[in-house]
């Protein structure tokens, strides 16, 4: 297979964007556009890439058409810098309109060359030959018939592109213009497609980046100069560690496995210099107004002064567009390999050649030594972090000499992707009463958007200086026939890191143009569509808008909107028209687009939905109408999302949205109905269709909002907060609703009042006048007095040699194992990551830190020298073998209930475990609690060493449960409140709620906060599986308890459940289903209305909202969870920060959101959760303090 025909062209410098201003492009090689080989198959080469828009299919259609080759025999190579021509970045919807032109010519030329060869071979005049389905055929009746491939056998033809070659008349098109199925979808639907995320190279390492704290900026004196250092040695022993690479402010950790890289990146201590104040973007519009600018007048026509003199209508308006995210669904990824003098980068870039130039600079390699192989990635709609990670991977591969894959996290993509720029537009316009458009003064402020490659600025190779780039001018000239107009684009340096994003500057500019013309129409008391038609000089624009209005059954609505102010739900419709102009001013027009949008506004909540959009487009010739329709749908949905929901929030540090809760996008339930009208213009040149339908979206929706409410909206996005605030300010109050906006709290399951607790009550009174610590210290001194006065010192019990394990029966050992699990011995007597039972766990108590002891039978450091009597005395009286008192953090007050058989079995088990030599440092208790003998007094006051006695009035299983729970299970150890001396307040407050390791251990009695009472089955489910559907999962310090209880026989767990639930005697006032339904209704009312609501919906609801039988794992209902009803928010905050995993396999896990939510976001979320799920409870007031404290807590 050596024969081929190639069509090439001498290399040309690409037009349009370059990575940096003034960048030189040298030594351009020949560009290959088309290759046909002996098999007859054709390969097209294009410098643009498929961003999910289907151009791979459309370009192949063009080649198949011009070449008369079956579509299936054409394939495309897109964006591989070693192979494809440099056609610049895939932007501005110009692939079909611009980049396909040489491809079409190459195919036409190849067809002629093949016919020429056939003519020579057959002797038939080329003019009598024709082509069809990959064959050259002679005249009717002749037997001249050559397959293309056969004509190329042993020929090696390389022809220069003939720019003047004749291409087909569109009238004769068969393949172009037909709806063709996309070639990439079957592979994508079966997992066979290789996205850049799926590229694997043998020996590949995994990297995670640690980005600087100044998240989302790209210039400033601190940029690239803020890293003080990293503590490599702190992570160098972690599993999989390969290297930490540091260069300027660039930090990457590299590991053998992906999850290892992630863990190391999270663990790496990094020290940054204090940052200077960042730009204040709390009010972006104001920041744009203050940002220094260079005015650039792009159009100045007519006499502006005369235009505004004596005009009947003279309006000034300002329009604001926020920073928005590209918000790719897949965080960016790249793989790089440096091998044999060649750097290969597998990348999802939009602009492979530009990127290659940047990476040459980054790595000091010549461009010829770099090949960028473009793979599909998650849709980007402009420039996201795909280039940045490609640079990062290149840097690491060259430094380490091994292939490296870099995967950004969701947080990093959100924070660091260059944002779609914000924009502020001031318009002054004038019209006559008779409808003549007089003057139009338009000033648009656009902070620039050519973000340098992060690697270049983080390493300091390129200085992080602000660079102004003139890209705010797209569609800046209004389409309407103002007699005089002055269009000024205020070019300015970037503020936040920004880049081009679909409909670059045209969407905001058009938002202003088409909202403004709508207002003029109302002022002129004319129908907005008719008014536009009167003032649109472009015939195709008029034809399109008329067709869309007709399709939408538009009814003329002259004059001011007439909303029904008695109605809570208001409906309206609005129209808009725009043509996207792309490229340098004045730009190239893309497809014409017009919208009619129907909206629904809830005045009570401010929620806006686009219920239906009729969207028409004149795309000229459509290569693949199915693809065009797809693009229109995509643009309508994405732009609706941008208009209704999207705004990048900034805080003092930078971008303050790190996940989909912080930056919500449109979801399926919010989907509008979309009716697409595509004008048949197959005889006209093709126009770009990748962005056009986005451009009129904002004005159509804003105009519909006006039609619905009579109120104009000038600032995006139209979130419930913004809409409600403006409607409340502008409209007369909504009549009182027939039903409450939010349903009232359901009847509360009454909490019992605690019984009087004499001792505790006295202490509480005392506590009012003195601080708790002072009180405790004073009480401790008093205890000492009790001890000295009342108790003899305790004797030590003689040590034994290692016990004779042969004395213990295997049955006893087995039973002891279960009892040890019940007693949670290992939960407290194991240090994090340490050997089970070998001690060293730090228990923080109000009295100081207790280090738990070594429970293994090691003679020196454990309990190996303890005889059974010594062990039993410790368990029952809290006295160590040496006669010293043990601190009652060791629950001997409960263990004392244990009967002799069980005690012996437990001893047997502990003594037959492997001895571990592990000296544990002494506990660190405060005075006077460090004096152990004071505990003698404590025991006198608080300890009852009596064995368990069954209650004859209760069932056998209840008594069994009581024996287990009161004894070894020591439930009350955590779940009963303690007095200032740390003793359980058993009178009246037994199981009334306590604390454990900084968590609230909820009440298990009738004092429980749980919204529904705990019944026996609930407790059983919870203890057996770690999850009760009516209450929630076991988490925090309770998780290991349930884990240990897995060793217990089922009957014992049931018995404990029966016993524990007997203390919750509340009646069920509202059922679980009722509570869930009430919460769902409150959620619906408040959806999107606050940051807390948005975070819940985007970050939490996938697992916590509704009941989805098709989803794996537990889906805890927050309406039923006692943590939402607790007096303190601690447990809720703990869980959100750190997540939790189901104790029993199969329940699933919740990830921790500590690195996602800022303190402010977390406070908003927790406030929202409290008000939505526990509406009868008072708001938590100390959230900032609690969040700060718990973020730093060790547990």
């Amino acid at each position: 297979m050596t024969g081929f025909l190639e069509i090439v062209r001498s290399g040309l410098a690409p037009k349009g964007l370059s990575a940096r201003p003034g960048q030189k492009i040298e030594n351009l090689p020949d560009e290959l556009f088309l290759r046909i080989d002996e098999t007859g198959a054709a390969i097209g080469y294009c410098g643009h890439v498929d961003l999910g828009t289907g151009i791979r299919t459309a370009l192949a259609q063009i080649i198949a058409e011009e070449l008369d080759l079956p579509f299936a025999q054409v394939s495309m190579v897109l964006g591989d810098t070693d192979k494809v021509p440099n056609q610049g970045a895939t932007i501005a919807s110009e692939t079909i309109q611009v980049s396909a032109v040489p491809l079409r010519k190459a195919a036409a030329q190849a067809r002629l060359i093949l016919m020429r060869i056939a003519a020579a071979r057959s002797g038939v005049d080329a003019r009598e030959l024709r082509t069809e389905d990959g064959l050259v055929l002679g005249p009717e009746g002749s037997n001249v018939r050559f397959a293309y491939g056969d004509l190329l056998v042993d020929r090696m033809l390389r022809e220069r592109l003939d720019e003047a070659v004749l291409v087909k008349d569109p009238i004769s098109y068969k393949v172009v213009g037909a709806r063709v199925a996309r070639v990439d979808i079957p592979d994508k639907a079966t997992g066979q497609a290789i996205f850049v995320h799926d590229v694997r190279v043998p020996g590949m390492l995994h990297a995670r980046l640690v980005r600087p704290p100044y998240g989302g900026w790209d210039h400033g004196p601190f940029f690239g100069r803020s890293l003080l250092g990293v503590e490599r040695e702190a992570v160098a022993n972690m599993p999989g560690f390969v290297e930490v690479v540091v260069d300027g402010d660039f930090i990457a950790v590299v590991a053998e496995r992906e999850e290892e890289a992630q863990r190391i990146a999270e663990a790496l201590p990094v020290h940054w210099a204090a940052l200077p104040p960042m730009p204040d973007l709390s009010d972006v519009a104001e920041a744009l107004r203050r940002n220094p600018d260079t005015p650039r007048v792009v159009r100045d026509e007519g006499d502006m002064h005369a235009a505004f003199t004596g005009a009947a209508i003279d309006l000034r308006r300002s329009y604001f567009w926020p920073y928005q995210m590209h918000a790719s669904i897949g965080p960016s990824c790249a793989v790089a390999d440096w091998r044999d003098g060649k750097l290969t980068i597998w990348s999802g870039t939009q602009n492979p050649h530009m990127l290659r130039a940047d990476i040459a600079l980054l790595t000091s390699l010549p461009e010829a030594a770099i090949d960028i192989i473009r793979h599909e990635a998650a849709g980007c709609y402009g420039r996201n972090c795909a280039d940045d990670v490609s640079g990062d991977a290149a840097l690491l591969a060259v430094k380490l000499g091994r292939p490296v894959r870099v995967q950004l996290t969701r947080e990093q993509e959100h924070v660091w992707e260059p944002k779609g720029a914000a924009q502020l537009i001031d318009v002054r316009g004038a019209a006559d009463a008779n409808g003549t458009l007089r003057g139009y003064e338009f000033d648009t402020r656009y902070p620039s958007n050519v973000s340098p490659l992060l690697g270049l600025v983080l390493t300091g190779i390129v200085p992080a200086d602000p660079v102004a780039v003139p890209m705010g001018d797209r569609t800046s000239v209004p389409p309407y026939d103002y007699e005089a107009k002055k269009i000024t684009v205020h070019d300015m340096a970037p503020i936040a890191r920004a880049s081009w994003f679909r409909g670059v500057s045209a969407m905001p500019n058009s938002f202003a143009h088409d909202c403004f013309i709508d207002e003029l129409a109302v002022e002129a008391k004319e129908d907005p569509v008719a008014y536009r038609l009167k003032h649109l000089p472009d015939e195709r624009a008029r034809a399109l808008l008329s067709a869309v209005a007709k399709r939408a059954a538009w009814e003329p609505r002259p004059g001011p909107a007439k909303p029904d102010l008695q109605s809570r739900i208001l409906r309206g419709r609005g129209a808009a028209y725009a043509q996207y102009m792309h490229g340098a001013f004045p730009g190239t027009p893309a497809a014409w687009s017009a919208w009619v949008a129907d909206v629904e506004v809830d005045r009570a909540t401010g929620q806006v939905s686009v219920t239906r959009a009729v969207v028409g487009q004149d795309s000229g010739m459509m290569v693949n109408p199915a693809g065009v329709q797809h693009q229109i749908h995509g643009n309508v949905i994405q732009s609706t999302s941008r208009v209704l929901k999207e705004e990048v929030p900034f805080d003092a540090v930078g971008v303050a949205a790190r996940d989909w809760g912080g930056y919500p996008i449109l979801t399926f339930p919010e989907l509008p109905k979309i009716d697409v009208l595509m004008l048949p213009r197959q005889d006209q040149p093709p126009m770009g269709v990748g962005e056009s339908a986005s451009v009129p979206s904002a004005s159509a929706i804003a105009n519909a909002l006006y039609d619905a409410t009579g109120v104009r909206f000038y600032e995006l996005p139209f979130t419930p907060e913004r809409v409600k605030a403006r409607l409340d300010a502008m409209l007369s109050p909504l009549p009182a609703p027939e039903r409450p906006i939010a349903p009232p709290a359901l009847p509360r399951n009454e909490r019992a009042r605690p019984a009087s607790d004499g001792w505790g009550g006295r202490m509480r009174k005392l506590a009012k006048t003195s601080s708790l610590a002072a009180l405790a210290a004073a009480a401790g001194v008093a205890l000492a007095g009790v001890a000295v006065g009342m108790l003899p010192l305790r004797m030590s019990i003689a040590p034994i040699q290692q016990p004779d394990v042969a004395l213990f029966s295997s049955a006893a050992i087995a039973r002891g194992k279960v009892l040890a699990a019940l007693g949670d011995c290992a939960v407290c007597h194991t240090a994090p990551g340490g050997t089970p039972m070998a001690g060293g766990f730090r228990m923080e108590t109000p009295f100081g830190t207790i280090l738990t002891t070594n429970l293994t039978p090691d003679v020196q450091t454990g309990i190996g020298a303890w005889s059974y009597p010594a062990f039993a005395r410790a368990m029952r009286e809290g006295i160590g073998r040496d006669g010293r008192h043990l601190y009652p953090a060791f629950p001997y007050t409960s263990f004392a209930r244990t009967n002799e058989d069980d005690m012996e079995a437990l001893y047997a088990y502990l003594m037959t475990q492997p001895a571990v030599h592990n000296p544990v440092p002494p506990s660190e208790l405060k005075f006077p609690f460090n004096l152990r003998w004071t505990l003698a007094g404590w025991n006198t006051l608080f300890h009852n060493a009596a064995p368990f006695t069954p209650d004859p009035g209760k069932s056998e299983s209840w008594n069994r449960g009581a024996y287990l729970a009161e004894g070894l299970g020591h439930c009350s150890g955590c779940h009963t409140p303690r007095n200032v001396l740390g003793a359980e307040r058993l009178k009246g407050l037994y199981l009334g709620g306590g604390e454990a390791e900084g968590w609230n251990a909820p009440a298990l009695s009738s004092l429980s906060n749980s919204p529904i009472p705990w019944n026996t089955q609930d407790v059983y489910d919870y203890l057996r599986s770690g999850f009760s559907a009516r209450h929630g999962p076991a988490a925090g310090p309770m998780a290991p308890v349930v884990e240990e209880m897995q060793h217990l026989p089922d009957g014992d767990v049931r018995a404990i459940a029966e016993y524990i639930s007997s203390f919750d005697t509340r009646t069920e006032a509202a059922s679980a289903a009722e509570l869930d339904a009430a919460a769902a209704s409150r959620l619906a009312e408040t959806a999107g209305a606050s940051q807390g609501a948005r975070i819940f919906s985007g970050s939490c609801a996938a697992c916590h909202e509704g009941d989805a039988a098709f989803m794996f794992g537990n889906r805890p209902s927050l309406a039923l969870n006692s943590n939402l009803f607790a007096a303190r928010p601690d447990n809720l905050i703990h869980i959100i920060l750190r997540g939790s995993s189901s104790v029993v396999s199969g329940g699933g896990a919740m990830p921790g959101f500590g690195s996602v939510f800022s303190d402010a976001q977390l406070a908003d979320l927790v406030t929202y959760l409290r008000s939505s799920f526990a509406p009868g409870e008072p708001a938590w007031t100390d959230l900032p303090e609690r969040i700060a404290a718990l973020r730093n807590a060790t547990h």
Binding site: A189, T190, E376, T409, W660, F1110
Partner: protein, 162 residues
């Protein structure tokens, strides 16, 4: 977190021994150990659905499901849906309706609808929308995805109409 250990996973009908820490997310095990590219990393927090696989026939977010949570349960990925080269009905519907632009979220859409069908299906257009409400798509392919999902569920797609 501890040292890697050998954990058995049953994936697409085959048993695999994975050498990893039990807290490793299933997504990494499937992608990096078994080279299964269907499930995609999207957020790591179970928010977007791109990583969806079936565990015991139900939709699971592999990005935040530790492998220790899976145990002996059967895992199915996008690659495991087609049987003997014949596309699953859901895959077939998505191909027929051309329900992808970039296709990064496609795995989650297909696997979620497969799970919905496994659990008894959806009965209305509204139910299909609700079933997909926690699967995000940024390209705006929702219309085509809804057509495909409705086709797979045997539910009529509600047209916008002229």
């Amino acid at each position: 977190m501890g040292q890697p250990q050998t954990i058995k996973l049953m994936v697409n009908g085959q048993s695999h021994a994975i050498h990893a820490d039990g807290s490793t997310m299933l997504l990494y095990a499937l992608r990096n150990e078994l080279c299964l590219n269907g499930p995609k990393y999207g957020c790591g927090y179970g928010e977007c659905g791109a990583c969806t696989v079936l565990i015991d026939g139900r939709a699971a977010r592999a990005c935040c499901t530790p492998i220790s949570q899976v145990g002996e349960l059967e895992i199915t990925t996008l690659e495991g849906l087609a049987q003997a080269g014949v596309l699953d009905d859901v895959q077939h519907a998505f191909v027929e309706e051309q329900a992808a632009q970039c296709g990064y979220c496609l795995n989650g859409m297909i696997m979620t609808i497969r799970a919905v069908l496994n659990a008894g299906g959806a009965k209305s257009f509204e139910e299909v929308k609700q079933a997909l409400r926690f699967n995000l798509c940024r390209c705006g392919t929702h219309i085509e995805i809804m057509r495909a999902a409705c086709r797979a569920c045997g539910v009529a797609f509600e047209e916008a109409g002229p």
